[in-house]
Amino acid sequence: MNRRDFLKMSGAGLAGATLLGAAGCGGGGSASGELILSMGPDDTGTLPDLIDRFNKQHQGEFQVKYREMPSDTGQYFDQLRTEFQAGGGEIDVIGGDVIWPAQFAAQGWIVDFSDRMPESEQKKYLPGPIESLTYDGKIWGVPWYTDAGMLYYRRDLLEESGISAPPKTWPELQEMALQVSQDTGTKYGFVFQGSDYEGGVCNGCEYIFTHGGNVLDPADPNKVVIDSPEAIAGLTTEQSMTKDKVAPLAVSTYTEEETDPAFLNGDAVFARNWPYMYALAGTSDFPKVKPEQIAVAPLPVGEPDPTIASTLGGWNFLVNAASDMQEEAWEFIKFMTAPEQMKYRAVNATLLPTLKSLYDDPEVVEAIPVIKLGKEAIQHTRPRPVSPYYGDMSLEMAEQFASVVKGDTSPEQAAKTLQSSLENIIEQAS
């Protein structure tokens, strides 16, 4: 054949092959008998271990498959939202961040667990995680593991300066930080996360909570109460950290990633961070400061209404409302939240369990020193505002809190701005 015919044939062949390929890829979705669990990356390897254990027990019935999601919780949330909007997606069980349940429940994307989690069941878990799963009078999942903001301090530096106990109030903290850093020649008195991101919201909320304030009215989540003297007092304290040079101005750019080296390389006397940082001390990444040199305490409290509190972090189990394996999902969740499995994950991954009973178990307490030291802190965690539009609220709060830390906005101004913008969001949402 001549060149023209050859070209015509190969063109048609190529087009045909492409169409076939596209049609073939159109299918997908989980194979029957397969339960898909989505969760961020697991550096410890304990999650795949537990899944293997479960799969062995349930050979021939159904198997669980672990689908790894982005480590950035914002990106993970985005992917889930995209799949939900497209009609449900293939994920059956979701390892969800504590700030998600209300946002998903409001759209009807996750399953109501109220009948599977009656009061008797709920009592077994810490109150903070349960609160984060509660929306509209119902409970939307099962708590898995938890996180709480705590105050880390260099026990040895405090002793050097003649102080034997950690500070109980914020003014005490500031005084101690300045004194100890001067006496011992440490670069920074106090470091925390003040950058414009979710962690910044956690920190800012902690200042508000410990001064007796709130963002939303606990009794009525549609009422914004952030413009109150207590909240303003809290934000004033946060701003005074950088204003009075207790913390470096750069904390307005700090996330957990910057806080870790600042404290664990010995450059700071105090630090606010999550429990995970304890396990990093003395490891090959951070050899300078040993675990014996640091200690943990509950966050200080402020005036006018001193309240022990810290922001709740952590992860829960949620079930996709579009899943057709809901019974199997419940089986798996029951397995993962049984004391034995929770303990395994707590001991091997040093993650804080949500079952109250495990906090009295000597094996758990030994494995995670932070539990022994921070038991009180964990009992007083408070969730961030529980609302279907938390995402938008978080954006506003992150921006304002970071601006307060930088000193660009006054606490009164920030509180007023947030009051109106949060009210706007709630109004727009209804």
Partner: protein
């Protein structure tokens, strides 16, 4: 022109284009590509504009609200800040890149040993993905490990961490962009320089023109086409800046595109203003391009 002659002109153009079987075949051959472009490029833009006239969210079209979204957008302080940052960034960085790029292009235009190597080496900053170089520079500006922050504070030029101050952050972003894209400008301009025949310079030298005169009377005018293309490309690129600002500022530096991203992807309620901002970017970029072509006389085809 009388109506009759205008009619005749129109009719003859039509006959000329579609009457001729060869030209008609050409149109048929171009038609599939044209349809694909319309579908892939035009349709989303038109739909975006249609969406921006409604109170849209990710899941629903919402009621028709006319230009309300645009009014809301112009009153949004984040948008205005982003717009201001973007304009300053575009003007300053393109100007600096042009000047330095031209200087580099003139320097490597003459043949010397190792010229090929220098040309390749000059392109290295541009070869890095923007996200990587932004993350790298952010580390250099950081307060704990950043060498630039350390030196600048030690020399007393500034007295605060670079990343905590919005103005310094913007200056840093301009710096990073100049570092990254000057080579690209330089190479584009170099290509234009190489087309200028050497005899023109010889003739000028014979006529007694000095360096400045040769540069302003010969080089620049003959380079005008290339300059306009290079500057237009860079201006549109800088106008759309997103990844540099997002990674360098870690969400704290606003531009037009970061406003769109925040509204459309992160926020759940700001979808409509975010979308309106995207349409705004498209329209203004279009106007900028139009300005370059019509007013500054940029050549768009060989027949001009």
């Amino acid at each position: 022109m009388t109506t009759a002659s205008r009619e005749k002109k129109r009719r003859s153009w039509f006959k000329e284009e579609f009457g001729d079987p060869e030209r008609r075949a050409a149109y048929y051959m171009v038609l599939p590509a044209l349809i694909i472009i319309l579908l892939v490029a035009f349709w989303p833009v038109v739909y975006s504009i249609w969406l921006s006239l409604h109170q849209a969210t990710i899941t629903a079209l919402g009621p028709f609200v006319g230009f309300e979204n645009y009014v809301e957008m112009f009153q949004n302080p984040d948008f205005l800040l982003g717009f201001r940052n973007t304009v300053i960034f575009t003007v300053v960085s393109v100007a600096i890149e042009f000047v330095i790029g031209l200087a580099i292009a003139l320097a490597i235009n003459r043949a010397f040993r190792g010229r090929g190597l220098v040309r390749a080496a000059v392109l290295v900053p541009w070869a890095f993905p923007t996200v990587i170089s932004a993350a790298m520079w952010r580390l250099m500006f950081q307060d704990q490990v950043g060498v630039i922050n350390y030196v600048a504070n030690a020399l007393g030029i500034i007295s605060q961490p670079i990343l905590s101050d919005e103005t310094l952050l913007l200056i840093g972003a301009i710096l990073v962009d100049v570092w990254k894209t000057t080579p690209f400008m330089a190479l584009l301009l170099l290509a234009g320089l190489q087309v200028i025949p050497g005899e023109v310079y010889e003739a000028a030298r014979v006529d007694g023109a000095n360096v400045m005169q040769r540069f302003f009377r010969i080089t620049l005018p003959l380079l005008k086409g290339t300059i306009l293309v290079a500057v237009l490309f860079r201006t549109l690129d800088a106008y759309r800046v997103y990844d540099l600002f997002w990674v360098l500022g870690n969400r704290e530096l606003d531009s037009l595109s970061t406003f769109v991203y925040e509204g459309v992807r992160i926020s759940q309620l700001n979808f409509a203003p975010g979308n309106a901002a995207a349409v705004f970017i498209f329209l203004t970029a279009f106007l900028i391009a139009l300005f370059f072509i019509k007013v500054l006389g940029m050549q768009t085809s060989a027949e001009d």
